[in-house]
Amino acid sequence: MIIRHFALRHGRRVLARNFQPRRFLSSEVDAIEASAENSTKQLQSLKSELNPHVPAPAASIDPETHATSPSTQITSSLAEQYHLFKQQQKLTGKLGSDISPHYQPHTLLNHPPSPANVTLELLLASEAHQGHATSLWNPANARYIHGVRQGIHIISLDVTAAHLRRAAKVVQEVSKRGGIVLFVGTRDGQDRAVVRAAELAKGYHLFERWIPGSITNGQQILGRCQTKVVNEKDEVVPGFEEQLYERPVLKPDLVVCMNPMENYVLLHECALNNIPTIGVIDTNADPTWVTYPIPANDDSLRCIQVIAGVLGRAGQAGQKQRLDAAERGDITYRPAKGLRIPGEDENKDSFPEVDAEVRKILHEKESLENADDLADKPGTAANYESDGRMVHVTS
């Protein structure tokens, strides 16, 4: 039996290899000349055997055009290659196992779910229900807790879904009215989710560290950030550079915080400046720190990706509504005050009704928005980083 297996397993390989019989100690030893001759013969035969299998040398690349020399270029046309590929696909496409749909981590970032697609199953799969150890709880979260399981609190997912939808509605409305939405997630691994949400909602993101005082002491910290004026279709209107120097620093209209436990300073500054906040509240966090709590597990990156994606989608919907209204000629936000159309007479300033007039002109021609490009501030606000997105001044 063993021999049969051996023949089955090794037979082909053994036959393929034209091995030399072993020379044992007892066998006769050739003279030195004879053995040398033998070895040269072997070498030559090896060489002749190997030569037909040596691959053709790779085509040399022309250093200037970065193309292979014309003599060695592939002769078959693109159509032939495509047909060959299709034929291969037809032959081998159905081979192998069938992979049923499964969780792929990147899909939550590439195609985040919209608020309408939030299901309890999705929240369960993203571990939104797992709280902290029962001894760490904040009793103010008792409303959101479903029960105790293996020493941890279980957050009830229907409450999570309801609060998430409510927060999404708020983000959508604020984006529709042209407010500045700031997405904050300063834990490791939250950066991509936060950036993606800001990208969708045309908002801002922060993923490194909140510089304390960026709101309460903004003139010192963000004073040198570049701002710009855009019209209702988000096109930049040049010529306002001098007027923008004297304007106060912009403040967000809505702050979405993914980890309130680490960002108490930010939330406190928002409270001092009367800015509404949305926060992911785990069972050990204090829900009174934020205006709109979303009870969920803030330690699960998948959960954070779902929540940030949903809020980003909501912001995207709001921005779309705003731009659609702008196409129709409606303006959904209050235009910026105190901006003069460049080139107009300066002494008009003294007239008391100048604000109203500017506004009127703006309504007729182009409504002005003030855009803040916080990314251009070197050093202190490097983590503000936005790719030139526009923001509307409502003050």
Partner: protein, 250 residues
């Protein structure tokens, strides 16, 4: 102020007050939004445990969350009590859609897309108890034996796969014995280096402590001394007693 800061919850009222007192020229853009979508009630503690009719628990417990129990908890603890090493096996905990368990049919113990583990036994036992009305012990035995059988087949499959891979030239890295030998060799070499250093140091200190004249003989002197002694030795009639060590020092 008190303990809690309610300013985040009262942003709308504050904005209204600031506008009314002319501190702010206009209302913020979110004023209507927050009016239409107000924040939820906070700091309310619902009663989570119905109070017992007589005596019993403390009233403060009424506001604490209840533990969650499932019928399979006991079966699970029983199985893993009997098979503690099942807990040491690696397990996939990632859910695909959150509805993974709905696709399983526990009339068989093997599920496509789910690895066979202790949880399979528990679910199979539950199914047998529910649908075939088996008593708990019998259901456990049936599920357990199916589990052993499939685990056995799985191990055979793995072994054969490994053999096949090895026979076709796969290399799975160093084995535990090779790694152990390497570690031992490294330790031995480092010990050797340390020991040589120690010996050297000791010799040096000894040489420093002894400062007298060096009385060791050089090679020509030694030969001379030997020549002097040899005739005297050969003249002796008696056999030489084997007294080890050189007696050649002059």
């Amino acid at each position: 102020m008190g303990r809690y800061d309610f300013r985040p919850l009262r942003v709308r009222q504050t904005a209204k007050a600031l506008f009314d007192t002319k501190r702010n020229a206009s209302l913020p853009c979110w004023y209507d939004t927050i009016g239409n979508i107000p924040p939820s009630e906070t700091l309310a503690r619902p009663i989570l445990r119905a109070p017992r009719p007589k005596g019993g628990k403390k009233p403060s417990r009424m506001f604490q969350p209840l533990p969650i129990h499932h019928p399979e908890d006991k079966l699970r603890s029983e199985f893993f009590g009997d098979h503690p090493w099942e807990l040491a096996r690696p397990r996939i905990l990632v859910e695909d859609s959150g509805n993974d368990a709905k696709g399983y049919d526990w009339s068989k113990i093997v599920q496509p897309g789910k690895q066979l583990d202790g949880e399979s036994v528990v679910q199979r036992q539950m199914w047998l108890m529910k649908h075939k009305q088996y008593p708990k012990a019998k259901a456990y035995d049936v599920a357990r034996r199916e589990f052993y059988q499939h685990r056995h087949l799985e191990e055979i499959r793995q072994r054969v796969a490994k053999e096949e891979a090895l026979s076709t030239g796969a290399y799975f890295g160093k084995g535990p014995l090779e790694i152990g030998m390497e570690l031992e060799d490294r330790t031995w070499e480092s010990w050797k280096a340390w020991a040589e250093r120690q010996i050297e140091d000791e010799q040096q200190t000894r040489a420093q402590m002894f400062s007298g004249p060096q009385d060791e003989l050089s090679a020509p002197e030694l030969e001379e001394a030997l020549e002097e002694v040899q005739p005297a030795v050969s003249e002796l009639k008696e056999a030489q007693p084997a007294s080890g060590g050189p007696a050649l020092h002059p």
